[in-house]
Symmetry: C2
Subunit: 482 residues, 2 copies
């Protein structure tokens, strides 16, 4: 029996407009895509012809098949979803996946992209990068961060962990860009106690700002530039304030060897001695982690994550890469990263995903691992955990933040599709990301950036460049001696 | 003194139309770009605000500054160039460089992209690829070649060396696509003498077809599938007919070890014994070239080139990559390649360029080499030489074929530019190629393919896929046993 009368629901519903929508109304609905999801064992699968409903910045539902606002069931919203006022993206031919996470970068360093090429790391630091960084003005930081955010949004990155200086400025740009980030104000012990105090001050002032998109960390530079007392004090502050600690450690094998020669301890042993393995810790690179470090990492009571940026390790000709297999056996997540563009030449996390798979196959002399699904697990849940956001992002599931990228697979280089995971990891490129969404807000739509203006940034950056790259002063912010 | 009278040239000039242009009239003029050029020592440099004039499919002139049809001088055309009827590309903000060359691929294998993942090479061949290849019909070849050409044009590839079966079909698609290619009909000794005869027949029928864009080679599969007598006969035919020989050899270290165990000779020693090092030879991969091979290669009287496809070596977890340094010391050009998409997952030569730089730094444990300029030398002149076209393509210079790609550097990931060579190799991506030109003909303009229709190819390919990938028959075209 049908009735021409409006239903009670419709009678009482307020007018449909984005500004005044019904309680529970959807903000964004994505239809027709193939959605990358994780099952209860975290195995990666794909939902065909999926509809993703976003409400209040979170994923409300993901269902297979076309949208049906009134259906209910195990895979359906228990409450009818009001789609009428929602923004709609028709994503046929595209894959929806969790936004990528750049687990370790220095955004303002895009300004130095390509300025220190084909050098070993000591010359890279001492002759080029650290001298130039002593010229950096707030405006350089701001322009660099803006360009970096633009690059990441275009490459499907929705969250990044940044470890640099002048982080108030980076925080402001992050807020403006719409991206999610974990930010830490870096410090050296050469700054006295002031560096550590500023790092804490930054972390406390900015935590959970930008509508909760910004989280923060304490950011000692590295065990070779921050002394034991400073590291121990950092660990105490991290525990007291419930903060993540983000630092470089055991970046390469030379650092580990030098640390053993000088202190009789590996960088990881130094962290353990400072109590840092009992804090939540984001450890950048770790290609110098050695066998004797593994028991210490196994006993760690903090949540440890490692960020791997494999392109830079090849470019610096380091002999090892992040020991992903050993870390997996310890249950330590390995997230994907690019490091700064001055070493990596891009903030292309998609490339890091592919290179992680390739570098691990080569290193382990085993073509069977990493599989593409394993690489996607690193790119999603493991990256989210590494930056301390394992409960909020990293998978497309109801309740998670709507940090979503839509990837176009219609190009000739991604066809045909026999194995979608392989297509994503080994055939698709960052440039295939068409749409980038954070907290349900569209930051790029059909390759058009909606929050940042690249040409004006590039214009001003180039005007400022001569003053920035001048090394005639002979100074540098620090000296690299492992 | 100026005169309102038309000049004698203008008086006698025929009407300006593409169909009836003045003798010597330009067909295409590219202005405002930065042009990658080689000096007399083959060092790579860049000409700012360059104008490239194309006439009759060749580069007529490259000059710095805006176009000036009446100027003459060392860097200017000696004869005035008639620009009036020419097609014009305003390429401000873009780099013009020689089109990339894919020095070793199997175009129709794009059909199998992603179907045999994360496997060692023996299982990859015996369990998946060779069984499926026994199902291939001409139409599959045609669709695959078409998709591959589309992918390569979009990735800035203007020439490829293809080594496969049903090459009459590939030749027809090549002609249709507008690309340049060196094509060889592959054969195994298991085919009897017929394979070799067909390879010769193909090479003679198709050489210098498609307005000279198609050159040909003899294409024995490899020393482990083609016996010594067949290799020797191939060498004799190559000398008799002045043909290039294109084959797989010393693909990996296991093959070299197996060859030594079985025959007491390395694959390169087998080629030498067959007389193949005294023919013009394009050798695919060569990661199994060992120290004892080097004197033989040094004594070779043929023009030897090696094609390197480094992504696949990492993916198969091979322990070595192409020995670029050793080959350079012998004066042997190393060109860039992708191999087929069934192993490489794409035909992205741009990625091969970056990975060659990274893999060589890692392998040599020296971050100073390959530099970006060295990588660009491999991508240009060395690749042209490897496929036997060293006099016709590989540099932007008057008289060379107008095989040009225009690369957009306005994206945030390629800014700022401190070192243009580094930007091209390490920051730019194949997707940054906006325009692809072969013999002066525009095959892609502003990312739009002008000679191929991808959606129709993909649609039909997917319809045919179930029959193609069926392995229930239990057959295979060959068995991989090194």
């Amino acid at each position: 029996m049908t009735s021409p009368e409006p239903t009670p629901d419709a009678k009482t519903a307020p007018p449909r407009s984005p500004a005044a929508r019904a309680p529970g109304a959807a903000d964004l609905v994505i239809t027709g895509c193939t959605a990358l999801v994780h099952d209860e064992r975290e195995q990666i699968g794909f939902v065909e012809d999926a509809t993703i409903v976003v409400r209040d910045g979170r994923i409300a539902t993901i269902t297979g098949g076309p949208p049906d606002p009134h259906a209910a069931g195990p895979d359906r919203p228990p409450v009818p979803v009001d789609l009428a006022g929602a923004e709609h993206i028709d994503a046929r031919g595209q894959v929806a996946m969790p936004g990528l996470v750049n687990c370790h970068t220095h955004t303002p360093m895009v300004t130095l992209r390509g300025i220190a090429e084909d050098l070993p790391i000591d010359e890279w630091f001492n002759d080029i990068v650290w001298p130039i960084e002593s010229n950096l003005q707030e405006r350089d930081i701001e322009l660099g961060a803006r360009l970096a955010c633009a690059e990441m949004i275009r490459g499907g990155v929705t969250c990044f962990a940044d470890h640099y200086f002048s982080m108030d400025t980076v925080a402001a740009v992050t807020a403006e860009s719409g991206l999610r980030a974990n930010l830490g104000q870096a410090f050296f012990s050469s700054q006295g106690t002031e560096g550590r105090e500023q790092s804490l001050d930054f972390a406390l002032r900015h935590r959970d700002t930008a509508d909760g998109r910004i989280t923060t960390s304490l950011a000692p530079h590295a065990p070779y530039t921050v002394d034991d007392a400073d590291l121990a004090a950092t660990a105490a502050l991290a525990r007291e304030h419930g903060l993540l600690v983000h630092l470089h450690a055991a970046e390469n094998r030379d650092q580990t060897d030098a640390s053993l020669a000088r202190h009789g301890r590996t960088p990881i042993e130094i962290l353990a001695g400072a109590g840092l393995l009992d804090t939540d810790l984001l450890l950048a690179h770790g290609t110098g982690i050695v066998e004797r470090d593994l028991p210490l990492l196994a006993r760690a009571t903090g949540r440890i994550g490692v960020a791997s940026a494999p392109r830079g390790y090849l470019k610096f000709a380091w002999p090892t890469t992040t020991p992903v297999r050993a870390l997996r056996e310890l249950g330590i997540p390995v997230g994907l990263a690019t490091d700064g563009a001055a070493s990596n030449n891009s903030l292309d996390v998609w490339e890091s995903m592919a290179l992680t798979a390739l570098a691990q196959k080569f290193t382990e002399a085993d073509p069977r691992r990493l599989t593409s699904r394993q690489a996607l697990h690193h790119a999603t849940l493991q990256s989210a955990r590494a930056v301390g956001l394992g409960e909020r992002i990293g998978s497309l599931a109801p309740g998670r933040s709507a940090d979503i990228v839509l990837v176009d697979l219609s190009g000739p280089h991604t066809q045909p599709v026999h194995d979608l995971a392989a297509t994503l990891v080994h055939s698709a490129r960052s440039g295939d990301v068409r749409t980038t969404i954070v907290d349900g807000r569209i930051l790029m739509r059909d390759r058009e950036l909606l929050t940042l203006d690249v040409p004006s940034v590039v214009r001003e950056m180039n005007e400022r460049m001569p003053a920035l790259v001048d090394r005639a002063h002979g100074g540098r912010i620090q000296r690299y001696e492992t």
